[in-house]
């Protein structure tokens, strides 16, 4: 125990060359996955706003974990096919946003399959310091052009997806909320941005809020009324997120500017 003997302390005080002292220590970590639609319909102001919002978001996320948690970012963009911005999750301290371009169609099903491959202990979630289920944030402005249900079915049996905190942002009036709710498994964690101002604010606030909730320790003991299982814990986090999203949208500060579909 910690009250170890004075003799033992003397032993290590005398010993300058402690090999264990040279070993590195990692903080607890959380991975946030951003799935971003870069299809042709995102071209123009939508993509410009998204790029700017994501650039501005990184310093804000850096301050969430502070000394306790290392937040890592993984960005998967999708249009005709899908691609990771970087080949592995990057600590937000070192993350550099590479501005995105819009072109192509919307292969969301393929994207879900790729996400399923990387949501694994042997892939993107291989760090022992990973202490929380991931946050998965989907942003799209339209309807998938491939069989997204086939990809989603594969994702739905992945424990990391099931236990992850999922949120979706529909951009403009073409985005399909039902499809997004299928992804998040909860219609209350689907939100819609109809203007550039709303898009910028929602990206930043939702990413920050979901990271805060995602990195909060919540064990099976946090609800005393019943013998909680893992899904109950995740459902509670989803509920908290849904409530926060509602607060963001209902806030007086929420922009009521020119809608995308008339303004972009």
């Amino acid at each position: 125990m910690e009250d170890f003997s004075t003799k033992a302390r003397e032993l290590i005080d005398l010993e300058d060359d402690d090999p264990l002292g040279a070993t590195g220590v990692s903080r607890k970590s959380l991975v946030i996955f951003f799935l971003i639609d870069t299809s042709g319909s995102m071209k123009g102001t939508k993509m410009g706003e998204l790029n700017t919002a994501m650039e501005e978001l990184m310093p804000e996320i850096r301050s969430i974990g502070e000394a306790d948690t290392d937040i890592k970012i993984a960005v998967l963009t999708f249009s005709t096919g899908c691609a990771w911005m970087y080949p592995e999750p990057i600590s937000v301290e070192e993350f550099e946003w590479a501005r995105l371009e819009a072109k192509g169609i919307t292969d969301l099903g393929m994207t879900f399959e790729e996400l399923n491959r990387k949501l694994s202990r042997s892939e993107f979630l291989n760090s022992p310091s990973l202490s929380f289920a991931p946050v998965i944030f989907l942003m799209t402005d339209g309807y998938p052009t491939d069989d997204y249900k086939a990809g989603l079915r594969k994702l739905q049996v992945n424990s990391w997806y099931r236990y992850g905190l999922k949120v979706a942002l529909g951009i403009g009036k073409e985005a399909n909320d039902d499809m997004l709710a299928e992804f998040t498994t909860n219609p209350d964690t689907v939100v819609h941005a109809y203007s550039g101002g709303q898009l910028a604010q929602l990206i930043k606030k939702i990413a920050v809020t979901s990271s805060q909730i995602g990195s909060k320790s919540m064990t099976l003991a946090d609800d005393v009324l019943k013998d909680l299982n893992e899904m109950d814990v995740i459902d509670k986090k989803q509920e908290q997120l849904a409530e926060q999203i509602k607060n963001i949208v209902d806030s007086d500060e929420y922009p009521k500017d020119v809608p995308f579909d008339s303004g972009w």
Partner: protein, 357 residues
């Protein structure tokens, strides 16, 4: 001669909140066998007696191994006939013994107000007695001719081979993602137990709770750390003091969780192979240096890519500006020549948006 060593440090989060350590570790050595065990009580409101649950888990395990190994020759013989059957039998015995101990403790110790905090009578009644004591359990057993390990919930079992290499024989199957763990209090705990066995005698077996594992950035660095620990077993007292100091640092700067470790080894085997583990430590140092260099190279590559993108964007913007200036100049020249200039829509904002994509 079998030797054991254990150490437990209270987590930084428990120190801050003034709560007790919920880990427990212990070992036992005899002439015929050695056993090491660690347990991590779940803590938090519902598992308000998990410190006792963790202690009981370790104690019933050591007692169980003691009973099964009372006649070590007979035990080894039966083990070799059907290891899976015998290990499962031990697991069932441990679970049953633990249930008995925690239920007896519950019946003999009325729940005090300070324990239950804000739980109402109704809420308390709804919690299974065993859940109040919920804990993980990781065990290593070593005899002259075999070794085996068992694991229920988060934590690690590392085996250091005679050649000095280390490995983790019980694989994480991803059934319990981050922050969620299997437990002795689960009704299907027996199905959640992982185990392994081998007849290759190891140099050392080390069990630890997840507060240690989660303070590392990679599985490789954790295995190498265990190898480093094994390399210092020639002076167990000094090693214990160093581990204590290092675990305090790890919980403060890393996991913030309780950290426990327990290990067993045979002295003659260790003395014979001491040089191997020392050499492995040197090899691991080189491997770590290579990983670090690779990581730095990746960072530089990422930065270079971003710089390249920024450079290209800047060049495009400058080209755009030159083009607009040229256009304005031509327009002026045309106007000065009194040529009728057609009206055209201002596309500059659209062009800038495209560039920004």
């Amino acid at each position: 001669m079998f030797i054991g060593l254990n150490e437990t440090v209270r987590g930084a989060s428990h120190v801050d909140s003034g709560t007790v350590c919920q880990d427990y570790s212990a070992y036992k050595t005899t002439d015929g066998y050695a056993v090491a065990a660690v347990a991590d009580g779940h803590g938090s409101k519902k598992h308000f007696r998990s410190d006792f649950g963790a202690k009981s888990a370790v104690e019933v395990t050591i007692k169980a191994i003691d009973e099964f190994c009372a006649d070590i020759d007979e035990f080894e013989k039966k083990f070799m006939e059907d290891p899976d059957y015998l290990i499962t039998k031990i697991q069932k015995y441990i679970i049953k013994s633990w249930y008995d101990v925690v239920n007896e403790h519950y019946n003999n110790n009325e729940v005090k107000q300070e324990e239950r905090e804000k739980l109402t009578d109704e809420e308390l009644a709804a919690i299974k007695t065993e859940s109040i004591y919920g804990s993980t359990l990781i065990v290593a057993v070593l005899t002259e001719n075999l070794c085996f390990g068992m694991q229920l919930g988060d934590g690690s079992l590392v085996v250091i081979k005679q050649c000095g290499e280390s490995y983790m024989p019980i694989v994480d199957d991803e059934s319990c993602p981050a922050n969620l763990t299997a437990s002795l209090c689960n009704s299907n705990a027996i199905k959640m137990f992982g185990y392994f066995y081998t007849y290759d005698r190891p140099l050392t077996m080390i069990v630890s709770t997840d507060g240690l594992f989660t303070s590392f950035s990679s599985k490789e660095s954790f295995e190498e750390y265990n190898c480093l620990i094994a390399s210092q077993l020639d002076d167990p007292e000094l090693l214990k003091a160093r581990m204590n100091k290092n675990f305090v640092r790890r919980t403060n700067s890393g996991s913030r969780d309780d950290i426990s470790i327990a290990m067993i080894f045979e002295k003659e085997m260790f003395d014979e192979n001491y040089i191997n583990v020392q050499m492995q430590v040197d090899i691991n140092k080189n491997k770590a240096a290579i990983r670090e260099a690779e990581e730095k190279a990746k960072q530089l590559k990422r930065k270079a890519r971003v710089e390249q993108i920024r450079y290209e964007k800047r060049m495009m913007e400058e080209a755009e500006k030159r083009m607009l200036a040229q256009k304005a100049k031509l327009r002026e020249e045309m106007e000065s020549l009194e040529v009728e200039v057609p009206e055209e829509a201002d596309t500059s904002s659209e062009v800038v948006s495209d560039v920004s994509e």
